[in-house]
C-alpha cells in the first residue's frame, strides 16, 4: 500500500517554510507600486492613427541591417504588448537588437460604439492604412509582415489580397485550418475549436447581439477553462511558490498585467471570426471573402516563414501547418519552437531562436536600396 501522509513534524516544518515565504513575499509586495509593474517599455513613437487604431515606430537599438521595415500585427484577442513583455523576454527588443526597422499596430480599446466594425475594416481598412503609411515613410513598395495568432490571419488575408505590397510574410501561432485540431486530438488542446463548433451560427449571433461585442472577459473565461485546475490554484499555491523571489514575482505580475488587459472584440468582426473561420473554416478552403474579394491563399507568392509552438493548446500545430500546401510559393519554411502559445514570446529558449530566425529570413529577402 502506498504510504501517504505527513508526520506532525513535517506539517509543522512545512508551515514554518510557508510562513517564511509569506513574510518575504508580503514584504516584497508591500514595497511594490503599480508603476513598478511595467510592460511594453521599449521606446517607440506614434506615427499614424485612425479612429482607435495607432501605428507605432520603434526607435532603433542597433545599426539597421534590413532595408524593408517589418510590421508586427497582433489580433483583437489580447494585445500586442505580449511581444514586449519585459526587457529580457521581448521579441521586439530582440528584433531591434538585430537591426530591424520595426513597427507595431495597436487596435485600441473597442467599445460598444465599435460593434459594427468588421474584419474587412480591420484588414482592408486599418491594416491597409498601416502598410501604406510604413511604405510611404520608408520609400518602399512592399513591407515585411509578422502576424500573431488572429493577427496572423489578418496578415495572411492581406498578403493574399495585396501580394504586391508584401515583401515577406511571417506567421506566428496562426490558425489557418480551423478544423485541424482533430488531426492530433490531444486532450486539453484545441478546446476553442471544439467549443466554437458546439454552438450554432444563431447562438453566435445571439451572443454577440445581446452584448454588442464579444467581451474580453468572456474570452478570458474560455482560456481559463482550458486549464481548469491551474486556474483554480493560480492565485494561491502557484503564487505561493514564487512570491519570495523578487524576479519571478515581477515576471508573474507583468504577465498578470498583460492578462488583465483583454479588450472586447468588436461584435461583427467576432461573428466573422467565430462563424466564417472557427465554424465554417472558410480561410483554408479559399472561400473567405473580405469586401467582396475572395481570399485565395494561392495568391501568397512572397516568401513565408510559419512559426508555431509544439505544445500550443490554443492553436494546435496542425491548424497552423495547414498553410504549407495552400500557398503559391515554394519559398515556404516552418520553425517549430518548444513550449506553448505564449511561451513563443516569453520562453527562455525562444529568446535566442525566434528573433534571429525572423531577422535571418527577412534579411535573405531584403532588396538592396535603390
Amino acid at each position: 500500500v502506498t504510504q501517504i501522509g505527513s508526520s506532525p513534524a513535517t506539517v509543522f516544518s512545512d508551515a514554518a517554510r510557508l510562513g517564511t515565504k509569506m513574510l518575504t513575499g508580503g514584504q516584497l509586495l508591500h514595497g511594490l507600486r503599480d508603476v513598478d509593474v511595467q510592460i511594453a517599455t521599449t521606446p517607440k513613437d506614434l506615427v499614424w492613427s485612425q479612429d482607435k487604431v495607432s501605428l507605432f515606430h520603434y526607435r532603433p537599438l542597433a545599426e539597421k541591417r534590413v532595408n524593408v521595415p517589418l510590421l508586427i500585427c497582433y489580433g483583437l484577442v489580447g494585445r500586442w504588448t505580449m511581444t514586449d513583455l519585459q526587457e529580457d523576454r521581448s521579441l521586439v527588443r530582440n528584433l531591434l537588437h538585430l537591426g530591424l526597422d520595426l513597427y507595431v499596430v495597436d487596435w485600441g480599446n473597442p467599445s460598444r460604439a465599435d460593434r459594427y466594425l468588421t474584419l474587412d475594416d480591420y484588414i482592408l481598412g486599418y491594416l491597409d492604412g498601416c502598410v501604406a503609411e510604413i511604405a510611404r515613410r520608408a520609400g518602399v513598395a512592399k513591407v515585411n509582415l509578422l502576424g500573431v495568432c488572429e493577427g496572423g490571419v489578418f496578415t495572411t488575408a492581406f498578403a493574399a489580397l495585396e501580394p504586391e505590397r508584401v515583401n515577406t510574410l511571417t506567421l506566428t501561432i496562426t490558425p489557418i485550418d480551423f478544423h485541424a485540431d482533430t488531426v492530433e486530438d490531444r486532450p486539453g488542446h484545441g478546446f476553442i475549436n471544439i467549443w466554437a463548433r458546439s454552438l450554432s451560427p444563431e447562438d453566435v449571433d445571439r451572443l454577440i447581439d445581446a452584448n454588442g461585442n464579444l467581451p474580453g472577459e468572456f474570452m478570458g473565461a474560455i482560456f481559463n477553462q482550458m486549464s481548469p485546475m491551474r486556474s483554480l490554484l493560480k492565485y494561491n499555491l502557484d503564487l505561493l511558490d514564487i512570491m519570495d523571489d523578487e524576479q519571478r514575482l515581477m515576471n508573474w505580475l507583468r504577465m498578470e498585467k498583460w492578462i488583465a488587459d483583454r479588450p472586447d472584440h468588436p461584435g461583427e468582426a467576432a461573428k466573422q471570426w467565430m462563424k466564417d473561420l472557427y465554424q465554417q473554416n472558410k480561410l483554408v478552403r479559399n472561400e473567405w471573402e473580405l469586401d467582396a474579394r475572395r481570399v485565395d491563399l494561392g495568391n501568397i507568392r512572397m516568401p513565408v516563414l510559419n512559426v508555431y509552438a509544439k505544445d500550443d493548446h490554443i492553436i494546435p500545430p496542425a491548424t497552423s501547418r495547414a498553410l504549407a500546401s495552400k500557398v503559391g510559393t515554394s519559398d515556404y519554411q516552418e520553425l517549430a519552437l518548444a513550449g506553448g502559445h505564449i511561451g513563443v514570446f516569453v520562453g527562455a529558449r525562444s529568446q535566442t531562436l525566434f528573433a534571429p530566425a525572423v531577422v535571418s529570413f527577412v534579411e535573405q529577402h531584403d532588396p538592396p536600396r535603390a
Partner: protein
C-alpha cells in the same frame, strides 16, 4: 472588506476547500464502496483497469485526504497572517493591488472551474446557473476525478514505491482532476450544457433589453436600438471616408527586389538573455 473580514474569509475558504475536498473524496469512496458491493454481488461488471483490491485504495484515499487537508490547514494560518496586512498594501486599482486581493480574497479564488457561468451571469445580470450546471455535469466530473485518484493511489501500491507527502498527493490530485475536467469539457454533454447556458443568458439579456427599450420609448429616453443605429451610421461613414482617402493617395514608387533567394541561416541573438523561466499561459 476589512482585515478582520479577510482573515475570517480566509479561514472559511481554506476550511471550506478542505471540507469540499473531503466531501468529494468521501463521495468517491462511497461510490467505490457501492461499486464494490455491486460488483461482488454480480449486479455490475468491473470497469476497465479497476484495481482488484479496492479496500487498499480506499485506505490510501483516506490518508491522502487527511494529508491534503493538513497542508491546506497549515497554509490557512500563514495566509491568514497576510490577510491582516492587506489594508496597508498600496492603493489604486493597478495590477499589484489586484494581485494582492486575488491572493487574499477567496471570492476570486473560486473563479477557476466556475468562471464561465459567473461571466455569463454577469453579462446577463441575471441569476447564477452554477448550481444547475455543476449539479448536472460537474459533480459527476469531480466524482470521476476522485475515483481516478483512488485508482492512481492503488496503482502506486507495492514494494519499494516512494511514500507520497502531502504536496505530492496534492500534485497528484491536481493532475488527476485536471485531466478529468478536460475530458469532461470535451464531452458532448458538457458542451451542450454550456451552449444551453449561453442561450439562456443571452435570451435573458435580450428580454431585459427589450423591457428597458419599451420603457425608454415611453418616456422619451434614447434607446439601445437608436444608439446602435447611430453607431452603425458612424461606422459606415468612417468606412466611406477611408475609401475616399485611399483613392486620393499617391502610389508609392516600386523598388524591385534583386538577387536570388538564399537558404535560411540561423543566427544567435547578439545579446545574452538572462531569462530563466518559461512564460505562463494566459
Amino acid at each position: 472588506m476589512t482585515s478582520l473580514d479577510y482573515s475570517k474569509a480566509f479561514t472559511d475558504f481554506w476550511t471550506a476547500q478542505g471540507q469540499a475536498l473531503m466531501k468529494a473524496q468521501e463521495q468517491a469512496g462511497t461510490a467505490l464502496a457501492e461499486g464494490m458491493q455491486a460488483v461482488t454481488s454480480g449486479k455490475l461488471p468491473m470497469w476497465p483497469d479497476m484495481p482488484a483490491d479496492l479496500s487498499a485504495g480506499s485506505a490510501d484515499l483516506a490518508r491522502a485526504s487527511k494529508s491534503i487537508v493538513e497542508l491546506w490547514t497549515a497554509a490557512t494560518a500563514v495566509f491568514g497572517k497576510l490577510a491582516t496586512t492587506v489594508p496597508a498594501m498600496p492603493g489604486g486599482d493597478g495590477i499589484v493591488e489586484a494581485t494582492v486581493h486575488r491572493m487574499v480574497d477567496p471570492r476570486s479564488w473560486v473563479r477557476g472551474t466556475g468562471e464561465m457561468d459567473e461571466v455569463l451571469a454577469r453579462m446577463a445580470q441575471g441569476p447564477r446557473f452554477a448550481d444547475l450546471w455543476e449539479a448536472a455535469v460537474m459533480l459527476e466530473a469531480w466524482l470521476q476525478a476522485g475515483r481516478r485518484f483512488t485508482e492512481q493511489l492503488a496503482g502506486r501500491s507495492g514494494a519499494g514505491s516512494k511514500a507520497l507527502d502531502a504536496k505530492e498527493a496534492l500534485a497528484l490530485w491536481t493532475e488527476t482532476a485536471n485531466q478529468q475536467l478536460l475530458e469532461t469539457q470535451r464531452s458532448e454533454r458538457f458542451l451542450q450544457t454550456q451552449a444551453e447556458m449561453i442561450r439562456a443568458t443571452t435570451a435573458l439579456r435580450t428580454a431585459q433589453q427589450e423591457l428597458v427599450e419599451h420603457f425608454g420609448k415611453q418616456y422619451g429616453f434614447p434607446t439601445r436600438t437608436e444608439l446602435d443605429d447611430v453607431h452603425r451610421t458612424v461606422t459606415e461613414i468612417r468606412r466611406e471616408l477611408r475609401a475616399m482617402r485611399r483613392e486620393r493617395q499617391v502610389p508609392v514608387p516600386v523598388a524591385r527586389p534583386t538577387g536570388s533567394v538564399k537558404p535560411l541561416r540561423m543566427q544567435r541573438s547578439t545579446r545574452p538573455s538572462n531569462a530563466r523561466q518559461e512564460g505562463k499561459r494566459p
